[in-house]
């Protein structure tokens, strides 16, 4: 697992209170990890903090899986 993927997973585990082994790159925040739309807003804020990236609302709406988040961050972090 890449460093980014690892850090994304840790944030997801911490915020959603889910078991680490459920947080695969394919896992959907809502369908697999029990998140709601507000949890995703909060997760996106946490990713922005952790990685120093800005994730605009239109991009955030397209992030539905852990892998989507990892990919976006890897493409946009400085």
């Amino acid at each position: 697992m890449s460093d980014t993927a690892d850090r994304v997973s840790k944030i997801v585990v911490e915020h959603l209170g889910v078991e680490a082994d459920k947080v695969t790159q394919e896992a959907s925040f809502i369908d697999d990890l029990g998140a709601d739309s507000l949890d995703i807003v909060e997760l996106v804020m946490a990713f922005e903090e952790e990685f120093g990236v800005e994730i605009p609302d239109d991009a955030a709406e397209k992030i539905t899986t852990v892998g989507d988040a990892t990919k976006y961050i890897e493409e946009h972090k400085g």
Binding site: H15, L16, G17, G34, L38, D39, V41, E42, M45
Partner: protein, 419 residues
């Protein structure tokens, strides 16, 4: 007429994370007071409180038992305390797994006096220092007072009345009284009722200190600072925690063979119409509330065995005692009266419910909890049994529980044993 009984209890207090630990420590004359650990108090006038203890403490609270990790992160501590106390009460009543029909007839009335002040304080700082886009999306619903009732209803699927009282330090008593009426009126068969508070944060402590409500002269002796009815009293000590009861329609409880702790027989409410923080000097509002509760209960002086006083350890104690004497007689009709705030501090919106539970346990165990630190009783206390220092074994068949709040809001409950 539909009767209302108590069939489950839940407590989170500075003396324990559950009912039996809190009660055992209370009866053993232990104090929940200490130096504030939640924040640096070095520039505060008051540095002491009765905090709920962490889970590694001998009578600490473990939030992980009943509150999801995710919820804990999103909400203020008063909601965590409230959810846990409600869960305890449901488990105690054997109602944590209700069938779908009963869920439609089961509701929540769990309030708070102030609500999510710690979160309001911390998110205000985020807003100022880092801007609006960093404010938590869970900010609002993690701080709202009715979100104990909301969270509990979601967790347990309760679709009956969903209510939350906000009457400062009378909240817990009003919550129980209002919920009992909902059952009497036929709106529900089961109600979770109570209150919670957690405002031992810089803004909460500073606010009460500036209002000159807190003891600020005994920061070096925290366990001695809450001393209701003592000449040396000098303001209250903040507490935190939650108390929730399961109220149930009597025939419903009987039919399922539930353990019945007590019956809610009287509820009185009034307003002082006098001052925002000071009680009416003649205690007229308090007297009205007590008389209404006794009248509803069909009781008179002599029927009450124990009074759990509001008794905050302020000058208002004198006013309350005079009012209780006018209602019950100079010797309180033989009743004992104590203030358990001497041990757990003032739980504000949680106080009335926590203290109602102590009243119920007094009836269960036939013992009344003590008023700690009552070394030098104030004038006017002669001939009154204020249960100084040590718990006292005695007959307890009926109890009166008083709560009075800022704004001049008063509530009294009368509970009795069911034979």
């Amino acid at each position: 007429m539909r009767r209302v009984v108590v069939t489950g209890l839940g407590l989170v207090t500075p003396l324990g994370g559950d009912v039996e630990t809190s009660w055992a420590n209370l009866i053993a004359s232990k104090s929940g007071a200490g130096q504030i650990t939640k924040f640096d108090t070095s520039d505060h006038k008051c540095t002491i409180a009765c905090e709920v203890k962490p889970k590694d403490h001998e009578f600490g609270f473990d939030p992980d038992k009943r509150v999801d990790h995710k919820v804990q992160r999103q909400v203020d501590p008063f909601i965590v305390f409230g959810i846990d106390a409600a869960g305890q009460a449901l488990e105690d009543a054997g109602l944590d797994q209700m069938d779908d029909d009963l869920k439609l007839r089961a509701g929540c009335s769990i309030g708070s006096g102030i609500g999510g002040l710690p979160g309001i304080e911390s998110e205000s700082i985020v807003l100022k220092e880092r801007g609006p886009s960093r404010v938590s999306p869970h900010f609002v619903h993690g701080r709202l007072i009715n979100l104990i009732s909301g969270q509990v209803s979601i967790k347990y699927g309760l679709m009956g009345p969903n209510h939350a009282v906000v009457t400062a330090c009378s909240t817990g008593a009003h919550s129980i009284g209002d919920a009992a009426r909902m059952i009497k009126d036929g709106d529900a068969d089961v109600m979770l009722a109570g209150g919670a508070e957690s405002t031992v944060n810089p803004l909460g402590v500073a606010g009460f200190a500036q209002a000159r409500a807190l003891n600020m002269s005994m920061n070096d002796r925290p366990t001695e600072a809450s001393r209701p009815y003592d000449k040396g009293r000098d303001g209250f000590v903040m507490g935190e925690g939650a108390g929730v009861v399961v109220l149930e329609e009597y025939e419903h409880a009987k039919a399922r063979g539930a353990k019945i702790y007590a019956e809610v027989v009287g509820y009185g409410l009034s307003g002082d119409a006098y001052h925002v923080t000071a009680p009416h000097p003649e205690g007229k509002g308090a007297e009205l509330a007590m008389n209404m509760a006794l009248r509803k209960a069909g009781m008179t002086s002599g029927d009450i065995d124990y009074v759990n006083a509001h008794g905050t350890s302020t000058m208002a104690d004198t006013i309350e005692l005079a009012a209780v004497k006018r209602v019950l007689g100079d010797d309180l009709g033989g009743a004992s009266m104590s203030s358990t705030k001497s041990a757990i501090g003032h739980l504000l919106g949680g106080a009335g419910a926590v203290e109602a539970i102590f009243c119920i346990l007094a009836m269960r165990d036939q013992i009344v909890p003590p008023t700690l630190n009552l070394d030098d009783p104030d004038e006017g206390t002669e001939g009154v049994d204020l249960v100084p220092h040590k718990a006292k074994k005695r007959e307890v068949k009926a109890v009166l529980n008083n709560s009075f709040g800022f704004g001049g809001t008063n509530a009294s409950l009368v509970l009795k044993k069911v034979d």
